[in-house]
Structures are given as structure tokens and as C-alpha cells.
Symmetry: C2
Subunit: 196 residues, 2 copies
């Protein structure tokens, strides 16, 4: 069944189960039995809507994109400087947020499989492209309003997204305890974007 | 056999074979048969020195740390600003460098396994900690010489290493074509560190 034809409530249930089980087990050790164990669906129930484990993961990635939009929409800050600071703070996951850390580490693992896996590649690319566009939009607003210098919105977004993605390895997966320093440096970077 | 007892030439041969096969196949699909196929060693020869596949990968990570030192030592630039720019340019892998891109994507996959794998965790943490220290050292030199503002060397290094690590996902694994923008933004970030 194509994901578009799956009833939204069913997709959300599968995505939530995939999210929890990915956070706990990672991608390589994920089985549909483990996904089922994290939900009120049986394995047969999972396969009723999706033909493969990767399609279930794709459903999770599609839902994750929607959740991120909702989270970013919920950020109250309207002016571009405060909004960019809030977006950076949101994208940089705190190691103490156990489930969210697990999800970010699992997404990093999925990214490593993307070159060999078309389904994952397509859905991860859509998700990361979306994050880049959202951040670039905030930067572009700031440049237009004269809050930021004439920086390149796409390049600035690429650096910020790369930095928050890359924190997953050194901070979340390895626990090198660079979190506070990283958070402060991101804010210092936003300072450096401000127009004189 | 502990890695310290493996003759350096044998370790280098195993590490080179692991590097090439990891770049080609990634971690999940790596077998010692594939590692042997990339070297003049048989599988029996690999197991003569190392008990497990992960120990062979650990040998590769130890060698990689040494290679990075040699590469960074080879950067001719002595003054901190030029040196930091050169280090950033070196750490940011060009998607056209096929083997090096493959290695970075495989290391990203290894990072995702680190929370569940003590051997990988230990060797990856040593490697990433070393990169952080090298970059922080260059920043600290620049601050001391008055070339850079009074920025926090550790935080600045964390941001730069996170950004170049995170480029692996969006730029190398997904091919979102943010490479030139990212390279320019890193240089713009170094600009922002300069003392007035």
C-alpha cells in the first residue's frame, strides 16, 4: 500500500512505534517484532499497512517532518534573531532527553544507510531539505529586515543544521560532554550574524 | 592479541583493508571476507592478529587518528588564522573524494553503534576527542596571540567539529549539494572569530 493510502491514524500509530523502538534499538537491530512490541499493533497489523520495515521507517520520517513543523510553529518568538536562537536551541538535542537522543542517533544511522537505500534516501533527503529551508527562511527574514548582516541564508542554514546534526555523534552517541559549550557557541555564532 | 602487540606493519595492512572495505560497504554489511578481499591477507590472516571484526575496525580507527595527525601536521600554515581555515577545509570532505566520503559515512554509522558497542565507543571517543583538542589548540593559540577574540576554544572547536561531522549526513550521504555554501560559511565563521 502506498503511504498516501494509509489512514492517518494508522500511520501515526506505526510511526510512534517505530520512533520508540528505533530510539531503543537503533536501525541495524530493529525488527518488526520489536516495533510491534512498542505498539498496540501486531506484526500482522504492521504488515497490513506497510510491505517492508523500511516503509514503516519512511512513515516515521514523514511523521517526524510534520512534528518538527509543529514544534517550530510552536516557538513563540516572532522576530528573526530570537527565532533563530530558539530554532538552534531546539535542534540541538540535550543528552538528558533520552528518547529524543536515541531518535537522533538512530536517524544518524539511517543517514549512513541512505547511499545504499533508496527509500531511506528519499525520505531523509525530504526531511533534511525541509529543515534547511526552514532555517534558511528565518535567516532570510532577518537579512531582509536588516537584523542580520548580508549573509547567505542557505549557507548559514547549512552550517547550523550540520552543527546540530553533527552534535549527535560527539555529544549524544559518544557523550564527550561538549553540550553546554556547543550551545553557547551556537548563540555566539548567531551574535556574529547580527548587523552592526 | 591486544592491539599493542600487533606488529605495526600488520596493523597498518589490516587498517588499510578495513578502510577501503568500510568505505565501499559500510559497517552493517561488512564481513571479514570483504575485508580480506580488499587486502593481501586471508581471513585466517586477519584473525591471526585480531579476534573480532570490531577489533579490526578499532585498529583502523587508531590508524585513522595517526593519519589525521600527519595530515594536519602537513598543513603548512603556521599562523592561527590561516591554520584554522586550513583545518576546517581539511575536515570538510568534498563529495567528489569518493573513498574519503565513504569513510566519513561509515564512521558516522560507527558513531551510531557506539552507545551499544564498547570497543567502538572507546576508539571513536579517542579519535573525536583528539580532533576536538587539535582544533581547540589552534583556536587557543589564536586567542593567546590576539588574532582571535576571547572566544572559548573548546566551544569553538565543538562547533567546528560538529559542523564538519554533520556535513557527512546532509552533504555526503544525501547529496543535498550544500558543500560550497558550507565551506563559505565556515570561512565566514572564522572571520567572525577575528579580533577587531
Amino acid at each position: 500500500m502506498s503511504d498516501d493510502e494509509v489512514p492517518p491514524a494508522a500511520r501515526a500509530r506505526v510511526a510512534a512505534a517505530v520512533r520508540t523502538s528505533l530510539a531503543k534499538h537503533g536501525y541495524a537491530r530493529l525488527t518488526t517484532a520489536k516495533v510491534a512490541a512498542e505498539s498496540d499493533l501486531s506484526e500482522a497489523g504492521l504488515y497490513y499497512h506497510y510491505d517492508t520495515k523500511d516503509e514503516m521507517i519512511a512513515a516515521f520520517l514523514t511523521e517526524a517532518r510534520g512534528s518538527l513543523d509543529a514544534e517550530l510553529d510552536a516557538l513563540a518568538e516572532a522576530d528573526p534573531e530570537a527565532r533563530l536562537r530558539a530554532v538552534c536551541n531546539h535542534l540541538l538535542v540535550d543528552p538528558d532527553e533520552t528518547e529524543r537522543s536515541g531518535v537522533y542517533v538512530a536517524v544518524m544511522e539511517l543517514l549512513a544507510h541512505a547511499p545504499h537505500n533508496e527509500t531511506l534516501h528519499e525520505h531523509l533527503a525530504a526531511m533534511e531539505r525541509h529543515v534547511l529551508d526552514v532555517v534558511a527562511g528565518v535567516v532570510a527574514d532577518g537579512v531582509e529586515q536588516g537584523v542580520f548582516r548580508e549573509v547567505d541564508p542557505e549557507g548559514t542554514a547549512a552550517l547550523l543544521v550540520a552543527a546540530t546534526d553533527g552534535a549527535t555523534g560527539i555529544d549524544l552517541a559518544l557523550g564527550l560532554e561538549v553540550h553546554d559549550e556547543l550551545r553557547a557557541s551556537l548563540q555566539d555564532y548567531v551574535d556574529s550574524l547580527l548587523a552592526d
